[in-house]
């Protein structure tokens, strides 16, 4: 990663900070009845403090597997993980299980997607939040009084702008609306003061007006707490409004990366361009086309570029996997079309 990545103004400072998370050539495969599924085929990305990074792609492209590999919640027996995962300079894949457990839910945390199923319906919100604090304390060998725990929980509930936090503590999940439940999930992730947060499709299950509020909240939290945010989504509109840097995934590869401004000004990879063309525009015009074909079978992925069977520009050389070509600034696209444009990265 040597390409110049500085942007103008105050935001440029983000690029000088050491990355919180570095993912390098991550490969994940699963043993299935139909053979070995090569799901992640060399994913590299990084997230810095105060930076909002988007990982975008359609269902089945490997976003969730990437997220689970980072959080260490892939099924250990089925998944084979190679490559490098570093958190604040420490290698996550070689550290002991206890060390990794100590990071999970503490320094690195996660907001789950579905506010309906991620809370236990038979426990009060207060009990569920309290458990998280208690376990984190125990792992650190500390102990807080019930009152101290309650004070911390109320503080976080206020931080996620839930009205009447004391009443929320005594409520069961079904007594809260979808938007409130999503806020509780964000509060849960923040309880132990993480430095890195993964948000998996936040607000997708909610109405647009509520989603808008949730996204604003996340935005403010990143700014105030200097969090490093990795946001996983399929919604390009959310990416544009919520992120500084974007990675576009297709079939287990990052096919394009760049600052959000760069990618939205001039999407370069044929897949990214096709994806943009699919999005219905608020300006109308009915100009949306689909993408022919389907995602490849991961047990028998196509040779070379995994997008070539669906790509209008495919040719002979696409049978070899293209490297990520630099095409100006921090913008890179893994497509042979860009060979010679800005020199290989």
């Amino acid at each position: 990663m040597t390409a110049p990545r500085r942007r103008g103004g105050a935001a440029g400072a983000v690029q000088d900070r050491e990355p919180v998370l570095e993912v390098e050539d991550l490969r994940v495969s699963f043993a299935t009845f139909d053979g070995v599924a090569e799901v992640l085929n060399g994913v590299s990305l990084e997230v810095r403090p105060g930076q909002r990074v988007g990982l975008v792609g359609e269902s089945g492209c490997g976003k969730s597997v990437t997220m689970r590999a980072i959080m260490g919640i892939l099924p250990e027996r089925a998944a084979r993980i190679r490559g490098r995962l570093r958190f604040e300079g420490r290698d996550l894949l070689t550290m002991s299980r206890a060390q990794r457990q100590a990071l999970k839910g503490n320094a690195m945390s996660m907001v789950f997607q579905d506010p309906m199923t991620s809370l236990n319906p038979v426990f009060r919100i207060g009990e569920q939040l309290s458990d998280i604090v208690r376990w984190a304390d125990r792992r650190r060998g500390e102990h807080r009084t019930g009152n101290a725990r309650r004070a911390r929980i109320l503080e976080v509930l206020e931080q996620v702008r839930l009205p009447d936090p004391a009443r929320i503590l005594d409520a069961y999940p079904l007594q809260l609306s979808g938007g409130m439940r999503q806020r509780v999930l964000i509060a849960m992730a923040l309880l132990n003061r993480p430095r890195f947060l993964i948000a998996d499709e936040p607000g997708t299950a909610l109405d647009v007006t509520t989603q808008d509020e949730i996204l604003r909240l996340l935005n403010d939290l990143v700014r105030d707490e200097r969090l490093a945010l990795l946001m996983i989504t399929h919604n390009l509109g959310v990416v544009r409004e919520m992120t500084d840097h974007v990675y576009v995934m297709y079939a287990g590869n990052v096919v394009e990366e760049g600052t959000t401004a760069e990618i939205f000004a001039a999407p370069a990879h044929p897949y990214t361009r096709a994806l943009f063309a699919c999005v219905p525009k608020l300006s109308g015009g009915r100009a949306f086309a689909g993408i022919d074909g389907t995602l490849p079978d991961y047990t028998q992925p196509p040779d070379g570029c995994r997008f070539h069977p669906r790509c209008p520009h495919a040719g002979e050389r696409c049978l070899t996997l293209p490297p990520a070509f630099a095409i100006g600034g921090s913008h890179r696209s893994a497509c042979w079309l860009h060979e010679g444009e800005g020199g290989a990265a």
Binding site: G178, E213, L275, S283
Partner: protein, 328 residues
């Protein structure tokens, strides 16, 4: 040419009783639909937009006769649906495509069998059913070999195509599409929408299209109604509603859609955001039901429910901010 409505909905109401206690006494009502009226013209794609809980799916179910209204009237091709519903003739004319193709197709039936169920009502002789199934698959751009497949072998987009083919089997005039693409990826959604546009043009169908996706509405529908807590807030030609939304709710909705270009962002109305969430339909606020979240709420909104300003094909809005009886 005077437009001829295929569907006329007048002052429709649907109340669900809320029962409590040992004797299941009725303690109140959920006002799922509370005085809704609109018309769908022949050949038109009429959109119904709204948040979850606004009553749009209940309305869809009533239109196809899966549910009965508490009061009001629905006329289909000039005839009362209350008398038509349940008859084979009605089922031949109105069909529905559901949201989730994963659960609306019977997993134990092959695609061929699924497509043949509605043919029982089509009046077509059984000897020609195989041929009809092949035609239907061709119409939705699926290979003929899919006839012997089962739903689990199909992708989400392919399943939704089968569901569309099934709805088309009896040769309907009106299709009610209840969020047909919300479970699909955008690349697949685009293909399905393209298919729906083509089929409508070829077969001269009318669509009642229900969705919460405003960007999709903008591109697909010709007229649009925005629904909130069982009532319509605004009705008009899609272009008018998007370029000059009148109701504060519509303005807020459009302004909170995440968009992918600066060009689109410039089209979003600059308004104060809508706060909070849609209230429960068991406990609808008095006056204008939107007043609790409305950034422009003033005195009359808390007291009286506004009536529609504008009628017919005008851009109509139900809001106290506009003078009564005026459509402009």
């Amino acid at each position: 040419m005077t437009p001829e409505p295929i569907l006329q909905v007048r002052d429709l109401r649907k109340l669900f009783p809320v029962r409590r206690g040992l004797f299941q006494r009725v303690v109140g009502h959920v006002r799922a639909i509370d005085g809704v009226g609109f018309e769908v013209q022949r050949g038109e794609i009429f959109g119904l937009a709204g948040e979850s809980g606004s009553g749009k799916s209940t309305l869809a179910r009533i239109v196809v006769g899966l549910s009965t209204p508490t009061s009001g009237s629905i006329r289909f091709g000039g005839e009362e649906v209350a008398t038509l519903r349940g008859t084979r003739a009605f089922r031949r004319r109105v069909q529905m495509v559901f949201q989730n193709p994963g659960s609306s197709l019977n997993p134990r039936r092959s695609i061929q069998q699924t497509l043949q169920v509605p043919l029982h009502f089509s009046g077509l002789e059984p000897a020609r059913w195989d041929q009809r199934a092949a035609e239907l698959l061709e119409m939705v751009e699926l290979p003929a070999a899919f006839r012997s497949k089962y739903p689990f072998e199909l992708s989400g987009g392919q399943k939704q195509r089968v569901a569309i083919a099934r709805a088309l089997a009896v040769g309907p005039e009106l299709l009610v599409l209840d969020e047909p693409t919300s479970a699909l990826d955008v690349s697949v959604q685009a293909k399905v929408i393209e298919l729906l546009v083509r089929i409508r043009n070829e077969l001269n169908l009318s669509y009642l299209f229900i969705s919460h996706d405003l960007s999709l509405m903008r591109n697909f529908t010709s007229r649009l109604a925005v629904m909130y807590l069982g009532k319509l807030s605004e009705v008009g030609f899609t272009g008018d509603v998007f370029t000059a939304p009148k109701h504060p709710y519509t303005q807020g909705l459009i302004s909170s859609v995440p968009v992918v270009s600066a060009e689109e962002a410039a089209l979003k109305p600059v308004v104060e955001r809508i706060r909070g969430e849609i209230p429960s339909p068991t406990n609808v606020p008095p006056g204008c039901s939107f007043h609790t979240r409305c950034p422009q709420c003033f005195e009359p909104c808390r007291e009286a429910d506004p009536t529609f300003r504008g009628a017919g094909f005008e851009h109509a809005v139900r809001c106290h901010l506009y003078p009564e009886g005026d459509g402009a």
